[in-house]
């Protein structure tokens, strides 16, 4: 008879199957570890670092570290949530995020996580990057101003749609999302509004055209309850948001 293996997450036992990451096991157990670039349907990317936890004393990304029996994992400590708040502030200042004018407001994982981490201001000076929008596609708008480089659209297009419409290009603070055409226009790619990639963006980059405020502010995904409640059940949140 085999015993279920467990590790401790903030002092409570979490069961896991061999091969599961700390994030996967926590999610399956209904426990929330803040995250932006992680999604249950795709392989881990490990870039946003919001899911940084302290496992046996070491800082690691929960989405990439394998669960080990008896591992002691700290998650929602003041120190870790403080680091998360700073990471969120970094994401807010490097792009152009104006929640009040964003169609994604209320359905946005970045915004919801920032609320949950108690982020009151961007803290750092804004970078105000110049990122023109791509409105070439008849059904979908790309507003790169809000891109957090999570690569979920890259993975969804490649792994679910088999298309490779998106890629991350550039280096350092000039890293940016590109589309798969010489013209640089989404309309010239084989992208379709029915693609998985069209409905995966956790922020407001990939948006359907001609649909504004279909669900009023106040009744959106993260309006009734915070991300730690809404996102603990492994649902495909981008589809609920539509």
């Amino acid at each position: 008879m085999s015993e279920t293996q467990t590790f401790s997450l903030d002092g409570e036992d979490v069961p896991f199957a061999p091969g599961q990451t700390v994030m996967q096991a926590a999610q399956a157990a209904g426990r929330w570890i803040p995250h932006l670039c992680w999604h249950p349907d795709f392989e881990a990317h490990g870039s946003c670092k919001l899911c940084t936890v302290r496992a046996n004393g070491r800082l690691v990304a929960a989405c990439t570290v394998a669960a080990q029996p008896g591992m002691a994992v700290e998650n929602r400590t003041p120190d870790l949530d403080g680091r998360r708040q700073t990471l969120l502030q970094m994401l807010f200042v490097e792009g152009n995020h104006f929640c009040p004018s964003c169609e994604k407001s209320g359905n946005c994982l970045l915004q919801a996580t920032a609320y949950e981490m108690g982020m009151m201001t961007p803290h750092f000076d804004m970078f105000y990057p110049d990122r023109p929008v791509d409105a070439s596609h008849p059904e979908t708008l790309l507003d790169f101003n809000r891109c957090i480089l999570c690569a979920l659209c890259v993975r969804a297009s490649r792994d679910a749609d088999g298309k490779n419409v998106f890629a991350l290009s550039g280096r350092g603070i000039r890293s940016h999302l590109i589309v798969n055409h010489e013209s640089g226009r989404l309309a010239d790619t084989d992208f379709a509004a029915t693609d998985r990639a069209a409905n995966i963006c956790p922020v407001g980059v990939i948006l359907p055209k001609r649909r504004g405020f279909a669900v009023p502010i106040g009744r959106r995904k993260y309006d009734p309850a915070p991300a730690s409640v809404v996102d603990v059940v492994p649902v495909k949140h981008e589809e609920e948001a539509r």
């Binding site: 800082l59 990439t64 990471l87 970078f127 490779n164 290009s169 350092g172 590109i178």
Partner: protein, 592 residues
């Protein structure tokens, strides 16, 4: 671009996407840049999505997706180049060419900009012209180059002495004085056989010379023990740590030793292909190294049936294209596969899942050269050199304020003071050991030793005398890391940019104690949450100098209260330019 130009390049690289870096480089060497339709054609030829080819082309500093002029001049911007006057020389060059730094001249003739350290710290100020290294720049040489550019003289026709690169070996020990003829160490290794060779490397206590100091024998054993049909040996010659140039000297004058070390590694781990990843700044070494490889093949030291035995091994050279991050072994492997150099998620480590997913041992140039000594003289002989925890010798690249900059080989355990005395440093204020990601030592620490157990070093040793301002050193390093961050993870991508901005704010006289606290806060965040060593160490120079040379920061701080970085008057500069006004009424004062 006509396919007659592109096709031979594609054919030479078998239309293989993993050769993308070489395809892009050779194409650019022909065309001067990588036009959009060429990227489309290359993507179609290698069968990759276009966006993926574009992503690689836009990641590396030395690839251009827009025209950068017939002459692309890049000044090495390490602090040691600046100490030798590179900033003023570059300004004078720009003035004489009627150019703004970073901009291409109106006629598309020339652009002048800065680049990260080109590995010529002992013979700077240095620059690259169309990716060829030029050393020892002087005001006179600036004038000559301006004339050559204006006259449109092809770079191949420029005076040869511009491209002269010296070894400057100042102190030799067992490695630089190895006295081995090509094949001698390899014959000894073949005589021992692979398992015994592995045991000797373990017994030697040989540790990685790239900085981390991982035991080489353990790495090779893990690679050999990994289940696989094919294994690879990679030589990391992406010597990007500012102030380091010892691998350049090994590859210039002891290339046989390096290639032989790779071959011995191949024998030990069971690999039949080795890849040497040469940094783009060392483009001038490509042809000489290819010549050495051809000779070794002719000498039966490479290829099938090496030295008459049942052992086959060959070596390919891959050239990088200006990305410090590729010194990180998993980023280097990504680059070898034709991708942007972003470090992978580890584990798995390269010894089990490396190049093309196969077990790969990635070793530093110097480590592989030292492996030849172990093969020839045995592990016990090697372990007796240096200290108990740091066997053997270490090459130091000495630059900065000293009379004899160059390469110094010492047994591990040498004191910093000894090196300073030998290189002719007068009244040194500080030494930056192992480059910006290393440690800044103040004079009370000069008794410390270069060794893994005390001050580990990848090889850089930059000396600063009392006339130097260590705040400016730290600011230079902060900009270096911001420029070289791969951009993958949030803390490093944004954090390095924030640190560079804060340092600029302090430099501009707008700093307050609050900003120094911010620097500490960013240091604490980036250290631990970053994806790889770059982000984890990026704040070291700021942290070190803040701790040890705080007055360098404090004398720039005028206000005890917070000061905004935003400068009201500077914000009006565009309006002044547009209206042609510069009178007193067109200015705002920030002073209340």
């Amino acid at each position: 671009m006509p396919s007659t130009l592109l096709n031979p390049i594609l054919e030479r690289h078998r239309r293989d996407g993993t050769r993308l870096m070489q395809i892009l480089r050779e194409t650019q060497e022909t065309l001067g840049w990588l036009p959009p339709e060429v990227i489309t054609a290359i993507a179609a030829a290698v069968g990759w999505p276009r966006a993926r080819v574009q992503a690689t082309a836009e990641f590396y500093s030395f690839f251009h997706t827009r025209p950068m002029g017939r002459y692309r001049i890049l000044w090495s911007d390490n602090i040691t180049d600046r100490m030798l006057g590179s900033t003023e020389l570059m300004q004078s060059m720009c003035r004489k060419l009627w150019l703004e730094p970073g901009r291409v001249s109106e006629d598309g003739l020339v652009s002048v900009d800065t680049t990260s350290c080109t590995g010529m710290g002992d013979q700077g100020p240095a620059l690259l012209v169309n990716y060829r290294a030029v050393t020892r720049m002087t005001p006179q040489r600036v004038d000559e180059i301006v004339e050559l550019v204006r006259a449109g003289t092809p770079v191949l026709g420029w005076p040869e002495e511009y491209f002269q690169v010296e070894d400057n070996i100042r102190r030799s020990d067992v490695l630089l004085g190895h006295g081995l003829t090509p094949g001698a160490a390899l014959a000894a290794a073949l005589e021992r056989g692979a398992p015994a060779m592995l045991d000797e490397v373990k017994a030697a206590g040989l540790r990685g010379r790239g900085g981390a100091g991982f035991p080489t024998g353990q790495k090779w054993a893990a690679c050999r023990g990994a289940e696989a049909d094919v294994r690879y040996v990679v030589c990391n010659a992406d010597e990007g740590e500012p102030g380091t140039f010892k691998d350049r000297v090994l590859l210039t004058s002891h290339a046989d030793l390096v290639f032989e070390g790779m071959t011995i590694a191949g024998l030990a781990v069971g690999a039949s292909l080795g890849l040497l990843y040469l940094r783009g700044e060392y483009r001038h070494l490509l042809e000489p190294l290819e010549t050495v490889l051809a000779r070794r093949r002719a000498q039966k030291l490479l290829g099938a049936g090496i030295l008459g035995r049942d052992f086959a091994f060959d070596i390919e050279i891959h050239l990088g294209a200006g990305a410090y991050i590729c010194g990180e072994e998993s980023a280097l492997i990504e680059s070898l596969e034709g991708k942007p150099g972003r470090p992978r998620i580890r584990p798995p480590f390269p010894v089990t899942h490396g190049y093309l997913g196969r077990p790969t041992t990635v070793n530093n140039v110097e480590t592989l050269a030292a492996a030849c000594l172990v093969a020839k003289h045995g592990g016990a002989w090697y372990a007796a050199l240096g200290t108990r925890k740091s066997a053997g010798t270490k090459l130091l690249s000495v630059s900065g304020d000293c009379t004899r900059p160059g390469i110094y080989e010492y047994p591990f355990g040498v004191t910093v003071a000894q090196v300073l005395a030998d290189c002719g440093a007068h009244e040194p204020l500080a030494v930056q050991v192992s480059g910006p990601s290393g440690v800044c030592l103040a004079d009370h620490e000069f008794g410390r030793r270069i060794a893994f157990e005390d001050v580990p070093s990848a090889g850089a040793f930059m000396v600063f005398d009392h006339s130097r301002d260590l705040f400016e050193t730290a600011r230079n390093f902060a900009h270096f890391f911001a420029h070289e961050s791969c951009g993958f993870c949030t803390p490093c991508r944004v954090g390095t940019a924030l640190v560079a901005r804060l340092m600029d704010k302090v430099a501009a006289g707008h700093g307050s104690p609050y900003d120094l606290e911010e620097l500490f806060k960013l240091h604490r965040l980036m250290q631990g949450t970053s994806h790889c060593g770059l982000g984890n160490t990026a704040c070291n120079p700021v942290f070190d100098t803040l701790e040890k040379f705080r007055p360098a920061y404090e004398r720039r701080i005028k206000s005890l209260a917070f000061e905004p970085a935003f400068d009201l008057d500077a914000a009006l500069s565009q309006a002044r330019q547009m209206t042609g006004r510069d009178d007193a009424a067109a200015h705002l004062s920030n002073v209340a």
